[in-house]
Symmetry: C2
Subunit: 306 residues, 2 copies
């Protein structure tokens, strides 16, 4: 693997195609598997508007689901949403070689296990993206800001895959934090996401200030954060006690905004309820940690889908 | 007061005009104060479709807000919804005599105090209605079933007003239960209403079976009922421990239905959130009873209104 690796983006939406663009800039061969927008991407590639400059690119190979690969990639990058009815193992199985690294750029907690069990011999590189990017039309993506990845081997450690990918991403122009404890990093991100995201949906797409400034709202957010942190600690990932304060202070420093789950809800797209909340509650049940407020939010959102 | 009393219905909607009809059948003089539907009621009275037969009636006096009363009634009946922006004391003050009894036929908990404080010398007769009745057009009411009242003096006891009204309502054709502990009866009704009603709104108008059969749904209802019962007990009204079982069994014996708060929500009408839930949480806070699930439901519904 001394030459630049071959990377395959599976489910190349806004996030997948953004990180594909970065790796393309680093000299990788980058291919993509797409579903509904095949023609637009075949004809025009991925067109970006980005503060990074012109990062538009064309996949070296463009596949549809069900196509045969020309070669086995060194890495597959999965950047789809994590939804109960999407079988992620089935999505990547046809493209995997024996040594292909599985790179997950996905939100939520405990989202790696399903793939680790399906592909016990492939390395899993778990990534959290801090990015504001959205698809505006088929093949047209607007990168608003950020792009940083927090990355580590699942379930823990940093291996040569992580280091190699780090170097490539950095060469392509974004910031990378390698972590020995990627699961702990996921818990850290959940301290904000698990309370705010589902609550904003339950409140019909409320923005951050509506949530915090409703009477009892900030206290509810703090109580939900405390429940998440109690589960994290029982799961072996104690988190610093200042997190609720610093998360809320950070949120109040930004203008009011609707988080991604609220936007998904308002646009009638499926929400990542299990990845962000359901898995946290499942771990709490397994470890006998009481989470009455998280349960209330989870079950009520499920009632809505029922 | 040996002659039949003079009763004034204030806010004569579906429920108020139904109980007015019953008292009219018992020979009372029954007048009404109405707001928006004055002309229809002046011209046609209250027209009923009811399993009780023809209970349509015309008020002996029909008033608008701001009119002067011809005489002071023996009883005013208030049967409006209990909403934060409706000043119920202001609504009844102009019509009250020194001895006028204030009859509340309203849902919720701790809804009497505001009036007891405003009118410390008038007796307050607190009633819970078990009835299915709805307004179909101005002055047109469909009484579907039931009509029973549970009635007692607030804050406790049974006085001669209660007994006299009981006799009149029974003579008019409905069932009355007198209770020494009307607050305890309100708690009893809250064991069902406080969990089911707000939860159905949070779940976007879900019916009883959707609520119970969602994974975790029945357990959440049971947990919410347990919180209500813990507050009731701390408030001096311990309730029998079989209530969650019997309430849920009773609900499962009926076809799926949407409760009145769900229907209010779906029809863009204001919901009695404080009367049914907010007051329970306020009492819990005063008495230091933990109610994490009730709080979550309350605050989230408030976020929605924000």
């Amino acid at each position: 693997m001394s030459q630049q690796p071959h990377v395959l983006i599976i489910g190349a939406g806004a996030i997948g195609s953004f990180y594909g663009a970065i790796l393309k800039r680093a000299g990788c061969t980058v291919s993509a598997v797409v579903r509904s927008e095949y023609e637009a991407i075949r004809d025009g590639g991925f067109q970006f508007e980005s503060p990074l400059g012109d990062i538009s690119w064309r996949p070296d190979h463009l596949y549809r689901d069900g196509d045969q690969a020309d070669s086995q990639p060194d890495y597959v990058i999965l950047a789809t949403k994590v939804l109960p009815n999407s079988d992620r193992a089935a999505l990547i199985r046809p493209w995997l070689g024996e040594d292909t690294g599985i790179v997950l750029i996905q939100n939520g907690l405990d989202i790696e296990r399903e793939l680790a069990e399906a592909f016990p011999n492939n390395p899993i590189i778990s990534c959290l993206a801090f990015i504001a990017v959205s698809r505006v039309a088929p093949g047209q993506i607007k990168h608003n800001a950020y792009g940083r990845l927090v990355m580590g081997r699942f379930p823990e450690g940093i291996d040569e895959h992580c280091s190699r990918l780090r170097d490539l991403f950095v060469e392509g122009g974004i910031d990378i934090k390698l972590t020995e404890q990627v699961v702990g990093e996921r818990w850290l991100k959940c301290v904000w996401n698990t309370p705010f995201n589902p609550l904003s949906v339950l409140a019909n797409g409320a923005d951050t200030y509506t949530i915090l400034d409703t009477p009892g709202g900030e206290q509810l957010i703090r109580d939900l954060m405390a429940e998440v942190m109690a589960v994290a600690e029982a799961d072996g990932h104690p988190l610093p006690s200042h997190l609720p304060d610093s998360n809320i202070a950070g949120t109040r420093k930004m203008p009011a905004y609707k988080n991604s789950m609220a936007l998904d809800y308002l646009n009638d797209r499926p929400i990542e309820l299990d990845a962000i909340l359901g898995n946290v509650v499942a771990i709490a049940h397994r470890l006998n940690v009481p989470v009455p407020r998280l349960e209330t939010v989870l079950v009520t959102l499920r009632m809505r889908q029922g």
